[in-house]
Amino acid sequence: VRRYLARRLLVSFGVVLGVVTLVFVALRSVPGDPVDMLIPADASGSAGIALAQQLRAKYGFDRPLYVQYGLYLSRLARFDLGSSIRSERSVAEDLLERYPATLELAVGSLFVAVALGVPAGILAALRPNSVFNNASMTLALLGLSLPTFWTGLSFMLLFSLILGWLPASGLGGPVWSWDGLSHLLMPAVTLGIEPAGVLARLTRSAMAEVLRENYIRTARAKGLAARTITIRHALRNALLPVVTVLGLQFGGLLSGAIVVETVFAWPGIGRYLVFGITGKDFPVVQGGVLVIACAFVLINLLVDVLYVVLDPRIAYT
């Protein structure tokens, strides 16, 4: 297992390096100039041109690409992500400041997704042709298809403007306080609805398949309680594909939810990254993508390890 982990970590490192390189090259080959955003539209003749040259020299944009890349990697090796061109703030500090918000929202919406999706899927599988099955699967489809900006704004209209129960935007206090929780509630539900739909449909089909297996029939024949069969025998086996998808969904959530973060003014890394991209703020985009790539790689590793726990037949060597 240790050798397997070491190999996986090495591959992960390669993946992250590849992503970083790709982003570095892509950013620089897309048309547009990062210093454009810093030159006032009315900068008079020589002043604007001189400022542009000064800024290009300051950030090294006037040097050959391979030199820029080498410098970037050497700084990266020292865990130096550079500082934003626009705000001059350290990218590492900015990311550290925003990541907790992204994590909070990701965990919150994952909780919503699991709490809504998995039970709905199980119940629908147990009663295949019932009204509940049809209703929950229709809702799941709706959850999958509704655009988040629409659901977000609808929730906001209802719960903030009409009922006045929840704050419409921003990050509250710590999540265990009412202030923190009330701020988190709407964005987490909005963001959790789509994965809940995915999970519900996936759980239902996985469960339905498992329930047709011979060992379930045997368990029933032994006279085991229906609850025991469902939870101990069927669910555990049905969860394997669910966990895989859950891992991927969580990785996605960790990369920041741009729309939800924008609608609810949630200060996560999704918005930070978008501002970086639209402003051609290279260090911000590079730093943000690096963190996201690491999160993805880590989650995938965790999911693979979790398999062993769920299915003893799987063993890594």
Partner: protein, 519 residues
């Protein structure tokens, strides 16, 4: 990034005076009652973009400016059509327009307790233009030859060339205490003279201020000001309507009348944002094609249908009713028949009715890029249809904003809808015709225009200056260098409980000491 931010960083160039000015709040909601100002309370402002820096001298955007204006002040500002002294009590301009002498207001204290002195003004100017680390707005002071502290409260600024508009360039130059900016961390602000002091700054989230009791203009009415960053306008509107915030910036044009019906105050500033059709003179070389485009362009349709009537048509470079305006220029007005006639005469003909025009087998097709933000895309589509109506074909490419600006700046286009901000002086949008600037979009040197613009901007005598600008406008018109479009109005929405807010021509809310909120 939307139009507002990109252009928001702008400052003083194109001029637009009398019609601009700080427009007072138009209260269209329920009567707020003309009671005496009340003290206390917290005002919550909502802005779309986080300030890029909390240091008032590092301002890049109008949002930076707006946040900075609470803490720090310039020597002069522009209100209701004229310059007013802020930290300068009065000023004197030498006859040759090269020396500006400012008398500072006595008894003014920085928030750290230090007195406002001529030396602080000098140091502030020098920090803005430090060659080792110039500030984005340092270019406003590029013409300054020297700054002298004549005595404790008198500053003399000598310019390299005469500049009758120099005061307009000072609107974004805040004076700070030189002792306060050394060794600052990015979340701390240096000390200014403004009515509010920074309490905390969390990028992308919020900025909090408390009142500065020692403010020279009297203790501010409000106790606190909180600024929240809310990027989505729909969310801002919900929060404004539910009373959680008192102010939102840049209301989308389509929502303005609805918010007014809800009883919110509309605060607007106009004729600083200026939209026009620009040409790449290197590729659209045929004058008659450019003229035809200007006749085919229906600016009123754009104004009514894409901008919901928020703005006024712009017919010439100069603002009507100002000294720079001349009735000798006959503007291009929408006349598609005339456009077709010009094209026919120039040999651009349609092979059959309804087909696009061509000349010597070469089709008339223009590359028309646009920025991927809502308004620009719609306006560009309207332009495409207008051109098609007279037989000019065009290809729209929608680009991400930064890519679009760069495409236009580096000449990868034929024709484009382009918007720019302006300063109140001079009242003519001529400065952008200077072809030796970073943001030159015309792609071709126009030595005669450059010389005239340069000469005009350094001419003190208003009569002679108007004459020079008339020459610029004549070339601009005869050569159809651009098609003038519209002065656009930007709208902020304010709760009916808020009183005393004033907008300067750049869209910065100023004089916060006199803002108050009815309880």
């Amino acid at each position: 990034m939307t139009r507002t931010t990109r252009w928001a960083r702008v400052v003083s160039v194109l001029g637009i005076a009398a019609l601009v000015s700080a427009l007072p709040i138009v209260n269209l909601g329920p009567a707020a009652g003309e009671t005496a100002p009340q003290r206390g309370g917290t005002l919550t402002l909502s802005i779309k973009y986080s300030p890029t820096s909390i240091d008032p001298q590092k301002n890049k955007t109008i949002t930076d400016e707006q946040v900075g204006a609470l803490m720090a002040e310039p020597l002069v500002d522009w209100v209701n059509g004229s310059f007013v002294g802020v930290l300068a009590k009065s000023w004197d301009v030498s006859a040759d327009g090269k020396t500006y002498t400012f008398s500072l207001r006595p008894g003014v204290k920085f928030q750290d307790g230090a007195p406002l002195t001529a030396a602080a003004v000098k140091a502030s100017f020098e920090r803005m233009t430090d060659p080792a680390a110039p500030m984005p707005r340092g270019g406003n002071l590029a013409n300054v030859a020297s700054v002298t502290a004549v005595d404790e409260l008198t500053v003399r600024v000598s310019l390299k060339t005469p500049d009758p508009d120099f005061l307009g360039k000072l609107l974004q130059i805040d004076v700070l205490d030189p002792a306060s900016w050394k060794g600052l961390t990015p979340d701390k602000a240096p000390s200014g003279t403004g009515p509010f002091q920074l309490v905390s700054y969390v990028p992308d989230q919020r900025v909090e201020f408390k009142k500065f009791p020692g403010y020279w203009g009297g203790e501010p009415y409000l106790d606190q000001i909180v600024i929240q960053v809310v990027p989505d306008p729909a969310t801002q509107e919900i929060e404004l309507e539910s009373g959680k915030i008192d102010f939102m910036d840049y209301v989308p044009a389509k929502d303005v009348s609805r918010l007014q019906h809800e009883g919110l105050q509309k605060m607007s500033f106009g004729r600083v944002n200026w939209g026009r059709l620009v040409f790449n003179l290197k590729t659209v070389t045929d004058l008659q094609v450019r003229q035809a485009v200007c006749y085919a362009f229906d600016r009123n349709a754009v104004l009514q249908d894409a901008m919901y009537g928020l703005g006024t048509p712009q017919l010439t470079l100069a603002v009507p009713g100002t000294w720079a305006y001349s009735s000798k220029i006959t503007p291009y007005r929408y006349d598609p028949a005339r456009a077709e006639q010009i094209l026919d005469q120039a040999g651009w003909t349609a092979p059959r009715p309804g087909a696009m025009r061509q000349k010597d087998g070469k089709p008339l097709v223009l590359n028309l890029p646009t920025s991927s933000n809502g308004d620009w895309e719609i306006i560009t589509q309207m332009i495409q249809q207008m051109l098609r109506n007279v037989g000019i074909d065009s290809r729209i490419t929608t680009m991400e904003p930064n890519t679009f600006y760069d495409a236009v700046r580096t000449g990868k286009y034929d024709i484009a809808w382009f918007e720019t901000n302006a300063s109140p002086v001079p009242p003519i949008a001529a400065q952008n015709l200077d072809t030796h600037q970073y943001w030159d979009v015309m792609q071709q040197d126009l030595p005669q225009v450059d010389a005239l613009v340069e000469q005009a901007s350094a001419t003190v005598d208003q009569h002679a200056r108007a004459e020079l600008y008339l020459q610029v406008q004549t070339i601009h018109h005869d050569q159809a260098l651009e098609c003038t479009g519209a002065w656009m109005e930007q709208v902020f929405a304010v709760s009916s409980k808020v009183h005393g807010m004033v907008l300067d021509p750049l869209g910065v809310t100023i004089f916060s000491a006199r803002w108050w909120k009815s309880q």
